[in-house]
Subunit: 278 residues, 2 copies
């Protein structure tokens, strides 16, 4: 069985999504420190597949994932997985909640649990970590009674106790992950296609032209995201998710007619659409 | 003269942008810990204006700014300021570069200086901070020889030495800040208008309909950004920047015709367009 790279360290939400949805399909899980490192490992063949977060229901797109897929690698999305983000409060075993002297987490996780922190830990200092899993590791090694905001999976990995769970302000907090590799996924009848559009120049109506090619053929777009080209402020490329498979005639026709109108059209693959829920 | 709130703590890029562009217009600068706190302070009248980052040329939109302006406050953008992001390496005075035992910064700043860190500080641990200014403060208080990646302004505030500057991988790294308040800005002939569009339902062609209202009147859009509504994954609202002032007849007409087609159209104001550069 093949190997899969994931955004680490051990105990991240990405690994949680991997273990709950795909663990029987891979016989080795390899942790990488950043999203670009996961994707480059797939590109070079160090692993056959990789799983990375691409969009969160509260925060929006994971920009580094979009940008790396658009600019740095030449990979296909093979599958998407929607996984709930349940933030837990983790401390060393036997730690009383009242004794906690500091909270540790990634700034984004801290921001998502603002209501909980204000209610229960007002005045307690909040330290930053490079990831929620790193926060759990820091807490496990600290002499002071600290608590991490981290995924439940991190409790078992770092030998911590779950003091509380579902700390997040928004109950609809789910993340969409993509599994990337080199395999073309077959047509299932309930598919999505992701593309990247680089337009010729920033002029009125460019985006309108793109949208018209799809709308005129009755093809729905489930997502459209503008991202900076990183050359000059105000210049964007577009990351678009289409409902349908590239083997569907209307999708194929729309893409065909776009090729001549764009500076570059990059196909990131067609893959089965996940049901959204939690 | 009025007071202005800014995203703090002291020594952030936001304060740098404020001091270099607007300091003569305000007689008091008030630091707030988060973007929502700055904007709420303007909303409640604790300060007359606020300045917050809204878009970075490399990272893209500052989501918390878009979401707070869209959902939580009822303010107008009075002005925009484009300010370069120059990351500097700051250490306590007399620290030799070779002796540095750790780098401290906000994870986003660290990510923007990846090339510099790999070249000069390979193997040196990178600690996370809640902001680049907090990183500078941590370094100033540490007994170990640490260095912060932070704005140059933070060096004078925390009594540190600038060991190096322009650490960022991308030379085009600039941030667009907005000054928000309650004043309507006058027509200058080189203006921008920001709006938020909440569509009736997620159906094919909604965005196309919006774009058509502008394109058919020759109005250019300088930015369009989809953001999650935070209710369910896959449901978005749109944040749009229009070239022109709401007092221009074609802009006014396009907005007028949109009102009936949208669930909600929120006007965030017309203001003079900044020249992009840096």
């Amino acid at each position: 069985m093949p190997r899969i790279g994931y955004l680490g360290p051990q105990g991240t939400f990405t690994q949680e999504a991997l273990q709950e949805n795909l663990s029987d399909q891979f016989d080795e899980q390899v942790s990488y420190a950043t999203v670009p490192e996961v994707l480059r490992a797939v590109q070079t063949g160090a692993v056959e597949s990789g799983i990375v977060p691409i969009e969160n229901a509260i925060e929006g797109s994971v920009n580094v994932t979009l940008d790396t897929l658009a600019f740095e690698t030449d990979l296909l999305i093979e599958r998407e997985v929607v996984h709930p983000v349940r933030h837990c409060l983790l401390a060393r075993k036997g730690t009383a909640r009242e004794s906690i002297k500091g909270i540790v987490s990634h700034p984004q996780a801290t921001a998502q649990c603002r209501g909980f922190l204000t209610r229960w830990f007002s005045g307690v200092p909040v330290e930053a970590a490079n990831s929620t899993a790193e926060a759990a590791m820091t807490v496990s090694r600290s002499y002071l009674p600290l608590a991490a905001i981290a995924p439940e999976l991190a409790a078992s990995i770092y030998d911590l106790e779950v003091l509380d769970c579902e700390l997040e302000d928004h109950p609809a907090n789910v993340t969409r992950f993509v599994v990337v590799g080199r395999q073309k996924s077959p047509h299932t009848g309930n598919d999505k296609t992701s593309i990247v559009c680089f337009i010729q120049e920033n002029r009125p109506g460019s985006l309108l032209e793109i949208l018209t090619e799809f709308a005129s053929r009755g093809v729905n777009l489930s997502k459209i995201e503008s991202r900076p080209t990183k050359k000059v402020l105000g210049e964007y490329y577009f990351f678009i998710d289409i409902e349908g498979h590239v083997d569907d005639p209307e999708v194929s026709e729309a893409l065909g007619s776009l090729v001549g109108k764009l500076r570059e059209l990059k196909l990131l693959g067609s893959y089965p659409a996940a049901s959204v829920g939690g």
